[in-house]
Protein backbone atom coordinates (compact mmCIF):
# COMPACT_ATOMS: atom_id res chain seq x y z
CA UNK A 1 0.00 0.00 0.00
CA UNK A 2 2.67 2.41 1.07
CA UNK A 3 4.61 2.07 -2.13
CA UNK A 4 1.72 2.89 -4.40
CA UNK A 5 0.49 5.79 -2.30
CA UNK A 6 3.90 7.34 -2.02
CA UNK A 7 4.16 7.55 -5.78
CA UNK A 8 0.72 9.06 -6.17
CA UNK A 9 1.55 11.88 -3.78
CA UNK A 10 4.58 12.94 -5.77
CA UNK A 11 2.70 12.82 -9.04
CA UNK A 12 1.04 16.17 -9.78
CA UNK A 13 4.43 17.85 -9.71
CA UNK A 14 5.62 16.06 -12.80
CA UNK A 15 2.91 17.64 -14.93
CA UNK A 16 4.31 21.07 -14.20
CA UNK A 17 7.88 20.21 -15.04
CA UNK A 18 9.69 21.84 -17.91
CA UNK A 19 10.62 18.46 -19.32
CA UNK A 20 6.92 17.76 -19.72
CA UNK A 21 6.46 20.83 -21.86
CA UNK A 22 9.53 19.89 -23.84
CA UNK A 23 8.07 16.46 -24.49
CA UNK A 24 4.72 17.83 -25.66
CA UNK A 25 6.31 20.30 -28.07
CA UNK A 26 8.84 17.80 -29.36
CA UNK A 27 6.17 15.21 -30.12
CA UNK A 28 3.81 17.74 -31.68
CA UNK A 29 6.57 19.00 -33.92
CA UNK A 30 7.38 15.46 -35.05
CA UNK A 31 3.76 15.13 -36.16
CA UNK A 32 3.77 18.44 -37.97
CA UNK A 33 6.69 17.51 -40.13
CA UNK A 34 5.69 13.90 -40.61
CA UNK A 35 2.96 14.34 -43.17
CA UNK A 36 3.54 17.38 -45.31
CA UNK A 37 0.43 16.89 -47.46
CA UNK A 38 -1.92 16.74 -44.49
CA UNK A 39 -0.21 19.67 -42.82
CA UNK A 40 -0.47 21.68 -46.01
CA UNK A 41 -4.14 20.80 -46.52
CA UNK A 42 -5.03 21.74 -42.95
CA UNK A 43 -3.19 25.03 -43.04
CA UNK A 44 -4.67 25.97 -46.42
CA UNK A 45 -8.22 25.29 -45.30
CA UNK A 46 -7.85 27.46 -42.25
CA UNK A 47 -6.27 30.18 -44.36
CA UNK A 48 -9.17 30.12 -46.84
CA UNK A 49 -11.75 30.10 -44.08
CA UNK A 50 -10.21 32.99 -42.24
CA UNK A 51 -9.69 34.90 -45.49
CA UNK A 52 -13.42 34.74 -46.18
CA UNK A 53 -14.27 35.57 -42.58
CA UNK A 54 -11.73 38.39 -42.65
CA UNK A 55 -13.03 39.88 -45.91
CA UNK A 56 -16.58 39.81 -44.60
CA UNK A 57 -15.51 41.33 -41.30
CA UNK A 58 -13.50 44.09 -42.97
CA UNK A 59 -16.34 44.86 -45.36
CA UNK A 60 -18.76 45.12 -42.46
CA UNK A 61 -16.67 47.42 -40.31
CA UNK A 62 -15.92 49.63 -43.31
CA UNK A 63 -19.55 49.90 -44.33
CA UNK A 64 -20.37 50.76 -40.77
CA UNK A 65 -17.61 53.32 -40.74
CA UNK A 66 -18.78 54.79 -44.03
CA UNK A 67 -22.37 55.13 -42.99
CA UNK A 68 -21.37 56.78 -39.74
CA UNK A 69 -18.98 59.24 -41.25
CA UNK A 70 -20.97 60.14 -44.35
CA UNK A 71 -24.31 61.45 -43.09
CA UNK A 72 -24.81 63.52 -46.27
CA UNK A 73 -24.14 60.81 -48.82
CA UNK A 74 -23.90 61.76 -52.42
CA UNK A 75 -26.62 64.31 -53.00
CA UNK A 76 -27.34 67.56 -51.25
CA UNK A 77 -30.68 69.25 -51.61
CA UNK A 78 -30.67 73.00 -50.91
CA UNK A 79 -33.94 74.89 -50.35
CA UNK A 80 -33.66 78.65 -50.68
CA UNK A 81 -35.62 81.21 -48.72
CA UNK A 82 -39.16 81.80 -49.99
CA UNK A 83 -38.59 85.31 -51.36
CA UNK A 84 -35.34 84.60 -53.18
CA UNK A 85 -35.75 85.11 -56.96
CA UNK A 86 -34.69 82.48 -59.52
CA UNK A 87 -31.90 84.74 -60.74
CA UNK A 88 -30.14 84.49 -57.38
CA UNK A 89 -30.67 80.77 -57.30
CA UNK A 90 -28.88 80.45 -60.64
CA UNK A 91 -26.14 82.74 -59.34
CA UNK A 92 -25.62 80.51 -56.32
CA UNK A 93 -25.62 77.44 -58.54
CA UNK A 94 -22.81 78.88 -60.65
CA UNK A 95 -20.85 79.72 -57.52
CA UNK A 96 -21.25 76.22 -56.09
CA UNK A 97 -20.13 74.64 -59.36
CA UNK A 98 -16.66 76.07 -58.85
CA UNK A 99 -16.26 74.52 -55.38
CA UNK A 100 -13.92 71.64 -54.86
CA UNK A 101 -15.50 68.21 -55.26
CA UNK A 102 -18.73 69.39 -56.81
CA UNK A 103 -19.72 67.37 -59.84
CA UNK A 104 -23.05 68.73 -60.89
CA UNK A 105 -25.50 71.40 -59.78
CA UNK A 106 -29.10 71.44 -60.93
CA UNK A 107 -31.46 74.32 -60.32
CA UNK A 108 -35.01 73.27 -59.55
CA UNK A 109 -37.31 76.27 -59.90
CA UNK A 110 -40.32 76.51 -57.64
CA UNK A 111 -42.59 76.16 -60.67
CA UNK A 112 -40.93 72.92 -61.76
CA UNK A 113 -41.09 71.59 -58.24
CA UNK A 114 -44.76 72.55 -57.93
CA UNK A 115 -45.60 70.82 -61.21
CA UNK A 116 -43.80 67.68 -60.10
CA UNK A 117 -45.53 67.68 -56.75
CA UNK A 118 -48.96 68.23 -58.33
CA UNK A 119 -48.30 65.38 -60.75
CA UNK A 120 -47.31 63.15 -57.90
CA UNK A 121 -50.32 63.97 -55.77
CA UNK A 122 -52.87 64.21 -58.61
CA UNK A 123 -54.72 61.09 -57.58
CA UNK A 124 -55.08 61.98 -53.92
CA UNK A 125 -55.61 65.73 -53.74
CA UNK A 126 -56.55 68.55 -56.05
CA UNK A 127 -53.91 71.28 -55.69
CA UNK A 128 -54.97 73.44 -58.65
CA UNK A 129 -56.47 76.25 -56.54
CA UNK A 130 -53.69 76.56 -54.01
CA UNK A 131 -50.86 79.10 -54.59
CA UNK A 132 -47.36 77.65 -54.99
CA UNK A 133 -45.82 77.34 -51.50
CA UNK A 134 -42.45 75.97 -52.61
CA UNK A 135 -39.08 77.77 -52.75
CA UNK A 136 -36.48 77.45 -55.45
CA UNK A 137 -34.03 74.66 -54.82
CA UNK A 138 -30.64 73.27 -55.92
CA UNK A 139 -29.59 69.64 -56.25
CA UNK A 140 -25.87 69.12 -55.90
CA UNK A 141 -23.87 66.02 -56.65
CA UNK A 142 -20.29 65.60 -55.47
CA UNK A 143 -17.51 63.52 -56.96
CA UNK A 144 -16.96 61.63 -53.69
CA UNK A 145 -18.88 61.32 -50.47
CA UNK A 146 -16.16 63.04 -48.49
CA UNK A 147 -17.16 66.41 -50.05
CA UNK A 148 -20.82 66.20 -49.05
CA UNK A 149 -20.23 67.42 -45.55
CA UNK A 150 -18.10 70.43 -46.48
CA UNK A 151 -20.42 71.44 -49.32
CA UNK A 152 -23.48 71.19 -47.10
CA UNK A 153 -21.83 73.12 -44.29
CA UNK A 154 -20.66 75.90 -46.56
CA UNK A 155 -24.14 76.21 -48.08
CA UNK A 156 -25.73 76.56 -44.65
CA UNK A 157 -23.71 79.74 -44.20
CA UNK A 158 -25.23 81.32 -47.35
CA UNK A 159 -27.73 84.11 -46.62
CA UNK A 160 -30.33 83.02 -49.14
CA UNK A 161 -30.29 79.37 -48.05
CA UNK A 162 -33.17 78.24 -45.88
CA UNK A 163 -32.52 74.56 -45.47
CA UNK A 164 -29.91 72.00 -46.54
CA UNK A 165 -30.84 68.33 -46.70
CA UNK A 166 -28.49 65.44 -47.35
CA UNK A 167 -30.18 62.56 -49.15
CA UNK A 168 -30.99 59.37 -47.35
CA UNK A 169 -30.80 57.24 -50.46
CA UNK A 170 -27.19 56.21 -50.17
CA UNK A 171 -27.49 55.56 -46.48
CA UNK A 172 -30.27 53.17 -47.23
CA UNK A 173 -28.28 51.49 -49.99
CA UNK A 174 -25.30 51.09 -47.69
CA UNK A 175 -27.58 49.61 -45.07
CA UNK A 176 -29.00 47.01 -47.40
CA UNK A 177 -25.53 46.23 -48.71
CA UNK A 178 -24.42 45.83 -45.13
CA UNK A 179 -27.24 43.41 -44.43
CA UNK A 180 -26.52 41.42 -47.56
CA UNK A 181 -22.84 41.11 -46.72
CA UNK A 182 -23.59 40.38 -43.09
CA UNK A 183 -25.94 37.49 -43.72
CA UNK A 184 -24.14 35.87 -46.63
CA UNK A 185 -20.92 36.45 -44.75
CA UNK A 186 -22.14 34.90 -41.54
CA UNK A 187 -23.60 31.83 -43.24
CA UNK A 188 -20.58 31.34 -45.50
CA UNK A 189 -18.26 31.96 -42.58
CA UNK A 190 -20.02 29.44 -40.37
CA UNK A 191 -19.99 26.88 -43.12
CA UNK A 192 -16.28 27.34 -43.69
CA UNK A 193 -15.51 27.32 -39.97
CA UNK A 194 -17.27 24.00 -39.73
CA UNK A 195 -15.43 22.68 -42.77
CA UNK A 196 -12.02 23.71 -41.50
CA UNK A 197 -12.74 22.33 -38.04
CA UNK A 198 -13.63 19.02 -39.62
CA UNK A 199 -10.49 19.02 -41.73
CA UNK A 200 -8.24 19.84 -38.80
CA UNK A 201 -10.06 17.30 -36.67
CA UNK A 202 -9.46 14.78 -39.39
CA UNK A 203 -5.79 15.63 -39.67
CA UNK A 204 -5.48 15.13 -35.93
CA UNK A 205 -7.33 11.84 -36.15
CA UNK A 206 -5.01 10.65 -38.91
CA UNK A 207 -2.03 11.65 -36.82
CA UNK A 208 -3.45 9.71 -33.88
CA UNK A 209 -4.10 6.72 -36.08
CA UNK A 210 -0.58 6.84 -37.52
CA UNK A 211 0.82 6.85 -34.01
CA UNK A 212 -1.53 4.38 -32.34
CA UNK A 213 1.38 2.10 -31.49
CA UNK A 214 3.10 4.87 -29.62
CA UNK A 215 -0.14 5.76 -27.87
CA UNK A 216 -0.57 2.15 -26.80
CA UNK A 217 2.91 2.15 -25.35
CA UNK A 218 2.29 5.41 -23.56
CA UNK A 219 -0.86 4.00 -22.03
CA UNK A 220 1.09 0.94 -21.03
CA UNK A 221 3.82 2.81 -19.20
CA UNK A 222 1.32 4.98 -17.37
CA UNK A 223 1.28 8.24 -19.29
CA UNK A 224 -1.70 10.40 -18.40
CA UNK A 225 -4.27 11.38 -21.02
CA UNK A 226 -2.90 14.90 -20.83
CA UNK A 227 0.46 13.60 -21.95
CA UNK A 228 -0.90 11.26 -24.56
CA UNK A 229 -3.25 13.75 -26.20
CA UNK A 230 -1.37 16.98 -25.54
CA UNK A 231 0.91 16.71 -28.58
CA UNK A 232 -2.07 16.11 -30.86
CA UNK A 233 -4.02 19.08 -29.56
CA UNK A 234 -0.87 21.14 -29.95
CA UNK A 235 -0.47 19.88 -33.50
CA UNK A 236 -4.02 20.80 -34.53
CA UNK A 237 -3.68 24.18 -32.90
CA UNK A 238 -0.39 24.81 -34.67
CA UNK A 239 -2.00 24.10 -38.07
CA UNK A 240 -4.77 26.47 -37.26
CA UNK A 241 -2.52 29.25 -36.05
CA UNK A 242 -0.20 28.97 -39.06
CA UNK A 243 -3.27 29.17 -41.27
CA UNK A 244 -4.52 32.16 -39.35
CA UNK A 245 -1.23 34.03 -39.61
CA UNK A 246 -1.15 33.39 -43.32
CA UNK A 247 -4.70 34.69 -43.72
CA UNK A 248 -3.85 37.77 -41.68
CA UNK A 249 -0.83 38.60 -43.81
CA UNK A 250 -2.72 38.18 -47.06
CA UNK A 251 -5.65 40.26 -45.83
CA UNK A 252 -3.49 43.05 -44.49
CA UNK A 253 -1.39 43.32 -47.66
CA UNK A 254 -4.51 43.30 -49.85
CA UNK A 255 -6.14 45.92 -47.65
CA UNK A 256 -3.13 48.20 -47.76
CA UNK A 257 -2.97 47.82 -51.51
CA UNK A 258 -6.65 48.66 -51.98
CA UNK A 259 -6.41 51.51 -49.51
CA UNK A 260 -3.54 53.08 -51.42
CA UNK A 261 -4.62 52.38 -54.99
CA UNK A 262 -8.39 52.40 -55.21
CA UNK A 263 -10.17 55.25 -53.50
CA UNK A 264 -13.74 54.00 -53.80
CA UNK A 265 -16.26 56.64 -54.76
CA UNK A 266 -19.05 55.89 -52.29
CA UNK A 267 -16.97 54.30 -49.64
CA UNK A 268 -14.71 55.58 -46.92
CA UNK A 269 -12.03 53.06 -45.88
CA UNK A 270 -10.69 52.85 -42.34
CA UNK A 271 -6.97 53.57 -42.27
CA UNK A 272 -5.07 50.27 -42.34
CA UNK A 273 -3.07 51.28 -39.28
CA UNK A 274 -6.30 51.19 -37.31
CA UNK A 275 -7.40 47.91 -38.85
CA UNK A 276 -4.24 45.83 -38.44
CA UNK A 277 -4.29 45.12 -34.71
CA UNK A 278 -7.98 44.29 -34.26
CA UNK A 279 -7.81 42.16 -37.41
CA UNK A 280 -4.83 40.29 -36.06
CA UNK A 281 -6.48 39.74 -32.69
CA UNK A 282 -9.75 38.55 -34.22
CA UNK A 283 -8.10 36.15 -36.65
CA UNK A 284 -5.68 34.83 -34.08
CA UNK A 285 -8.44 34.13 -31.57
CA UNK A 286 -10.62 32.51 -34.19
CA UNK A 287 -7.72 30.33 -35.37
CA UNK A 288 -6.96 29.35 -31.80
CA UNK A 289 -10.60 28.46 -31.24
CA UNK A 290 -10.82 26.33 -34.39
CA UNK A 291 -7.59 24.54 -33.58
CA UNK A 292 -8.17 23.81 -29.91
CA UNK A 293 -11.82 22.83 -30.21
CA UNK A 294 -11.50 20.59 -33.24
CA UNK A 295 -8.36 18.79 -32.14
CA UNK A 296 -9.62 18.46 -28.59
CA UNK A 297 -12.86 16.90 -29.82
CA UNK A 298 -10.93 14.52 -32.07
CA UNK A 299 -8.74 13.32 -29.25
CA UNK A 300 -11.73 12.94 -26.92
CA UNK A 301 -13.41 10.91 -29.59
CA UNK A 302 -10.37 8.70 -29.76
CA UNK A 303 -10.06 8.30 -26.00
CA UNK A 304 -13.67 7.28 -25.62
CA UNK A 305 -13.80 5.10 -28.69
CA UNK A 306 -10.92 2.79 -27.89
CA UNK A 307 -10.94 0.37 -25.01
CA UNK A 308 -9.58 -2.60 -26.86
CA UNK A 309 -6.16 -0.95 -26.85
CA UNK A 310 -4.30 -3.87 -25.42
CA UNK A 311 -5.79 -6.56 -27.64
Amino acid sequence: MGELLAIEKGEPMSIMRLSSLEFLIEEAFKNLTRNVVISFASITTVTLTLLVVGVVGLAMVNIEYSSQHLPGKLEVAVFLKRNVPLQEAIGLANKVKSWEGVKEVKVVSKEEAWQDLKKELKREVDLSDIPNPLPHALRIKTVAPQYIISVAETLRKEQIVDEVREGREVAEKLQSLNNLIKWTGISLGLFLLLASSLIIGNAVRLAIYARREEIRIMQLVGATNFFIMGPFVLEGTAYSIFGGLLAFLILLLAYIYIYNHFPLSFFLLLPYQDVALPLFAAIFLLALLIGVVSSFLSTRYFLYKRGEEFE
Partner: protein
Protein backbone atom coordinates in the same frame (compact mmCIF):
# COMPACT_ATOMS: atom_id res chain seq x y z
CA UNK B 1 1.48 -8.00 -3.47
CA UNK B 2 -1.26 -9.40 -5.70
CA UNK B 3 -4.55 -10.79 -4.44
CA UNK B 4 -7.61 -11.94 -6.34
CA UNK B 5 -10.74 -12.68 -4.32
CA UNK B 6 -13.57 -14.61 -6.01
CA UNK B 7 -12.81 -12.87 -9.30
CA UNK B 8 -14.95 -13.59 -12.34
CA UNK B 9 -14.75 -11.87 -15.68
CA UNK B 10 -17.19 -12.05 -18.55
CA UNK B 11 -16.56 -10.21 -21.83
CA UNK B 12 -19.38 -8.03 -23.15
CA UNK B 13 -20.07 -10.66 -25.82
CA UNK B 14 -20.85 -13.18 -23.09
CA UNK B 15 -17.60 -15.14 -23.07
CA UNK B 16 -16.74 -16.18 -19.54
CA UNK B 17 -12.98 -15.71 -19.37
CA UNK B 18 -12.43 -16.16 -15.63
CA UNK B 19 -14.57 -17.94 -13.08
CA UNK B 20 -14.25 -17.45 -9.37
CA UNK B 21 -10.49 -17.03 -9.20
CA UNK B 22 -8.72 -16.86 -5.84
CA UNK B 23 -5.02 -16.19 -5.98
CA UNK B 24 -2.41 -14.68 -3.72
CA UNK B 25 1.11 -13.77 -4.81
CA UNK B 26 3.58 -12.46 -2.25
CA UNK B 27 6.18 -9.77 -2.70
CA UNK B 28 9.28 -11.08 -4.44
CA UNK B 29 7.69 -14.22 -5.85
CA UNK B 30 8.26 -15.56 -9.35
CA UNK B 31 5.08 -17.17 -10.69
CA UNK B 32 4.23 -18.85 -13.98
CA UNK B 33 0.61 -18.65 -15.05
CA UNK B 34 0.14 -21.52 -17.48
CA UNK B 35 -2.60 -23.12 -19.52
CA UNK B 36 -3.73 -23.53 -23.11
CA UNK B 37 -4.44 -20.53 -25.32
CA UNK B 38 -7.76 -18.82 -24.59
CA UNK B 39 -7.92 -20.01 -21.05
CA UNK B 40 -7.91 -16.56 -19.45
CA UNK B 41 -4.22 -15.93 -18.70
CA UNK B 42 -4.06 -12.65 -20.57
CA UNK B 43 -7.39 -11.57 -19.13
CA UNK B 44 -6.09 -12.16 -15.64
CA UNK B 45 -3.06 -9.96 -16.35
CA UNK B 46 -5.35 -7.29 -17.83
CA UNK B 47 -7.27 -7.13 -14.57
CA UNK B 48 -3.99 -6.41 -12.80
CA UNK B 49 -3.05 -3.47 -15.02
CA UNK B 50 -6.63 -2.26 -15.33
CA UNK B 51 -7.14 -2.80 -19.03
CA UNK B 52 -10.28 -4.61 -17.88
CA UNK B 53 -12.25 -4.52 -14.66
CA UNK B 54 -13.53 -7.71 -13.02
CA UNK B 55 -17.23 -8.50 -13.44
CA UNK B 56 -17.23 -9.85 -9.90
CA UNK B 57 -14.77 -10.06 -7.03
CA UNK B 58 -11.89 -7.92 -5.89
CA UNK B 59 -8.41 -7.44 -7.34
CA UNK B 60 -5.76 -6.03 -5.05
CA UNK B 61 -2.41 -4.83 -6.40
CA UNK B 62 0.24 -3.48 -4.01
CA UNK B 63 -2.32 -3.14 -1.26
CA UNK B 64 -4.72 -1.18 -3.40
CA UNK B 65 -8.13 -2.40 -4.60
CA UNK B 66 -7.94 -1.85 -8.35
CA UNK B 67 -11.24 -3.56 -9.21
CA UNK B 68 -12.83 -0.17 -9.77
CA UNK B 69 -9.86 2.15 -10.11
CA UNK B 70 -10.84 5.50 -11.60
CA UNK B 71 -9.48 6.29 -15.08
CA UNK B 72 -7.34 9.05 -13.57
CA UNK B 73 -5.58 6.64 -11.24
CA UNK B 74 -4.94 3.93 -13.82
CA UNK B 75 -1.80 5.63 -15.23
CA UNK B 76 -0.42 6.01 -11.72
CA UNK B 77 -0.91 2.31 -11.07
CA UNK B 78 0.78 1.41 -14.36
CA UNK B 79 3.85 3.43 -13.45
CA UNK B 80 4.42 0.96 -10.66
CA UNK B 81 4.10 -2.01 -13.04
CA UNK B 82 6.28 -3.25 -15.84
CA UNK B 83 4.49 -5.03 -18.67
CA UNK B 84 5.93 -6.97 -21.59
CA UNK B 85 4.24 -8.81 -24.46
CA UNK B 86 4.88 -11.48 -27.03
CA UNK B 87 5.16 -8.87 -29.81
CA UNK B 88 7.62 -6.58 -27.93
CA UNK B 89 5.69 -3.39 -28.82
CA UNK B 90 8.68 -1.28 -29.76
CA UNK B 91 8.48 1.82 -31.93
CA UNK B 92 10.25 0.89 -35.19
CA UNK B 93 11.27 4.47 -36.01
CA UNK B 94 13.13 4.96 -32.76
CA UNK B 95 16.40 3.50 -31.56
CA UNK B 96 16.77 1.32 -28.48
CA UNK B 97 17.77 4.33 -26.42
CA UNK B 98 14.88 6.43 -27.77
CA UNK B 99 12.36 3.65 -27.19
CA UNK B 100 13.24 3.43 -23.52
CA UNK B 101 13.65 7.19 -23.12
CA UNK B 102 10.23 7.71 -24.73
CA UNK B 103 8.57 5.69 -21.99
CA UNK B 104 10.21 7.86 -19.35
CA UNK B 105 9.53 11.15 -21.11
CA UNK B 106 5.92 10.11 -21.46
CA UNK B 107 5.57 10.06 -17.70
CA UNK B 108 7.27 13.42 -17.38
CA UNK B 109 10.78 12.44 -16.41
CA UNK B 110 13.55 14.95 -17.06
CA UNK B 111 16.48 14.50 -19.40
CA UNK B 112 19.07 14.25 -16.65
CA UNK B 113 17.28 11.48 -14.82
CA UNK B 114 16.72 9.61 -18.08
CA UNK B 115 20.40 9.85 -18.98
CA UNK B 116 21.27 8.48 -15.58
CA UNK B 117 18.82 5.58 -15.65
CA UNK B 118 19.27 4.37 -19.22
CA UNK B 119 22.86 3.06 -19.10
CA UNK B 120 22.03 1.15 -15.92
CA UNK B 121 19.05 -0.60 -17.41
CA UNK B 122 20.82 -1.35 -20.69
CA UNK B 123 23.57 -2.94 -18.62
CA UNK B 124 21.06 -5.17 -16.82
CA UNK B 125 19.52 -6.46 -20.05
CA UNK B 126 22.94 -6.73 -21.73
CA UNK B 127 22.38 -4.27 -24.57
CA UNK B 128 24.86 -1.53 -23.68
CA UNK B 129 26.46 -1.79 -27.10
CA UNK B 130 23.15 -1.68 -29.01
CA UNK B 131 21.79 1.60 -27.65
CA UNK B 132 21.68 3.28 -31.04
CA UNK B 133 20.37 0.35 -33.07
CA UNK B 134 16.83 0.33 -34.45
CA UNK B 135 14.50 -2.55 -33.51
CA UNK B 136 14.66 -3.97 -37.04
CA UNK B 137 18.43 -4.36 -36.68
CA UNK B 138 18.00 -6.56 -33.59
CA UNK B 139 17.16 -10.23 -33.14
CA UNK B 140 13.86 -11.22 -31.53
CA UNK B 141 15.56 -11.94 -28.25
CA UNK B 142 17.30 -8.57 -28.26
CA UNK B 143 14.03 -6.81 -29.04
CA UNK B 144 12.40 -8.49 -26.06
CA UNK B 145 15.34 -7.35 -23.95
CA UNK B 146 14.65 -3.78 -25.03
CA UNK B 147 11.00 -4.24 -24.04
CA UNK B 148 12.13 -5.60 -20.68
CA UNK B 149 14.48 -2.67 -20.21
CA UNK B 150 11.60 -0.31 -20.90
CA UNK B 151 9.40 -2.22 -18.47
CA UNK B 152 11.88 -2.14 -15.59
CA UNK B 153 13.54 1.24 -16.10
CA UNK B 154 11.10 2.91 -13.73
CA UNK B 155 11.76 0.32 -10.98
CA UNK B 156 8.37 -1.41 -11.02
CA UNK B 157 7.23 -3.39 -8.02
CA UNK B 158 5.62 -6.01 -10.25
CA UNK B 159 6.66 -7.21 -13.70
CA UNK B 160 3.85 -8.72 -15.80
CA UNK B 161 4.89 -10.79 -18.82
CA UNK B 162 2.26 -11.94 -21.29
CA UNK B 163 3.71 -14.81 -23.39
CA UNK B 164 7.16 -13.17 -23.40
CA UNK B 165 8.76 -16.05 -25.31
CA UNK B 166 5.96 -16.71 -27.80
CA UNK B 167 7.98 -15.42 -30.74
CA UNK B 168 11.36 -16.79 -29.69
CA UNK B 169 13.28 -20.05 -30.15
CA UNK B 170 13.82 -22.26 -27.05
CA UNK B 171 17.40 -21.13 -26.53
CA UNK B 172 16.53 -17.44 -26.61
CA UNK B 173 13.39 -18.09 -24.57
CA UNK B 174 15.49 -19.48 -21.79
CA UNK B 175 17.78 -16.46 -21.87
CA UNK B 176 14.78 -14.16 -21.56
CA UNK B 177 13.31 -16.11 -18.65
CA UNK B 178 16.74 -16.11 -16.99
CA UNK B 179 16.73 -12.35 -17.32
CA UNK B 180 13.27 -12.22 -15.73
CA UNK B 181 14.56 -14.40 -12.88
CA UNK B 182 17.49 -12.04 -12.33
CA UNK B 183 15.12 -9.07 -12.21
CA UNK B 184 13.07 -11.08 -9.71
CA UNK B 185 16.17 -11.51 -7.56
CA UNK B 186 16.56 -7.73 -7.45
CA UNK B 187 13.21 -7.62 -5.63
CA UNK B 188 10.59 -7.27 -8.35
CA UNK B 189 7.62 -9.64 -8.18
CA UNK B 190 7.30 -11.40 -11.56
CA UNK B 191 4.16 -12.93 -13.00
CA UNK B 192 4.62 -14.63 -16.36
CA UNK B 193 1.71 -15.96 -18.42
CA UNK B 194 2.92 -18.63 -20.83
CA UNK B 195 2.11 -21.88 -22.55
CA UNK B 196 5.79 -22.58 -23.12
CA UNK B 197 6.32 -25.94 -21.37
CA UNK B 198 10.07 -25.84 -22.01
CA UNK B 199 10.82 -22.73 -19.95
CA UNK B 200 8.38 -23.64 -17.18
CA UNK B 201 9.93 -27.06 -16.69
CA UNK B 202 13.46 -25.62 -16.75
CA UNK B 203 12.83 -22.95 -14.16
CA UNK B 204 10.95 -24.99 -11.53
CA UNK B 205 9.16 -21.99 -10.04
CA UNK B 206 5.66 -21.68 -8.65
CA UNK B 207 3.21 -22.72 -11.38
CA UNK B 208 -0.47 -21.73 -11.39
CA UNK B 209 -2.46 -23.60 -14.00
CA UNK B 210 -5.60 -22.16 -15.54
CA UNK B 211 -8.14 -24.19 -17.44
CA UNK B 212 -11.38 -22.82 -18.84
CA UNK B 213 -11.08 -19.76 -16.66
CA UNK B 214 -10.51 -21.65 -13.40
CA UNK B 215 -7.38 -22.38 -11.40
CA UNK B 216 -6.93 -26.15 -11.54
CA UNK B 217 -3.56 -26.38 -9.81
CA UNK B 218 -1.07 -24.22 -7.91
CA UNK B 219 2.32 -25.76 -7.09
CA UNK B 220 5.65 -24.55 -5.75
CA UNK B 221 8.59 -25.67 -7.91
CA UNK B 222 6.05 -27.04 -10.36
CA UNK B 223 6.14 -28.20 -13.94
CA UNK B 224 3.82 -27.72 -16.89
CA UNK B 225 1.12 -30.37 -16.60
CA UNK B 226 -1.83 -31.04 -18.82
CA UNK B 227 -5.24 -31.34 -17.31
CA UNK B 228 -8.20 -32.87 -19.04
CA UNK B 229 -10.88 -30.43 -20.16
CA UNK B 230 -14.10 -30.39 -18.21
Amino acid sequence: MIQLHNVSFTYPNGTEALRNINLRIEKGEFVFLVGPTGTGKSTLLKLLYCAEYPTEGRVIVAGRDVSRLSPKEVPLLRRRLGIIFQDFRLIPTRTVWENIAFALKAIGMGRKEICRKLPEVLEIVGLSDKAHAYPAQLSGGEQQRVAIARAIVNNPIILLADEPTGNLDPETSLEIVDLLARINLMGTTVLTATHDKYIVDKMRKRVVTLQNGRIVSDRERGTYEHYASE
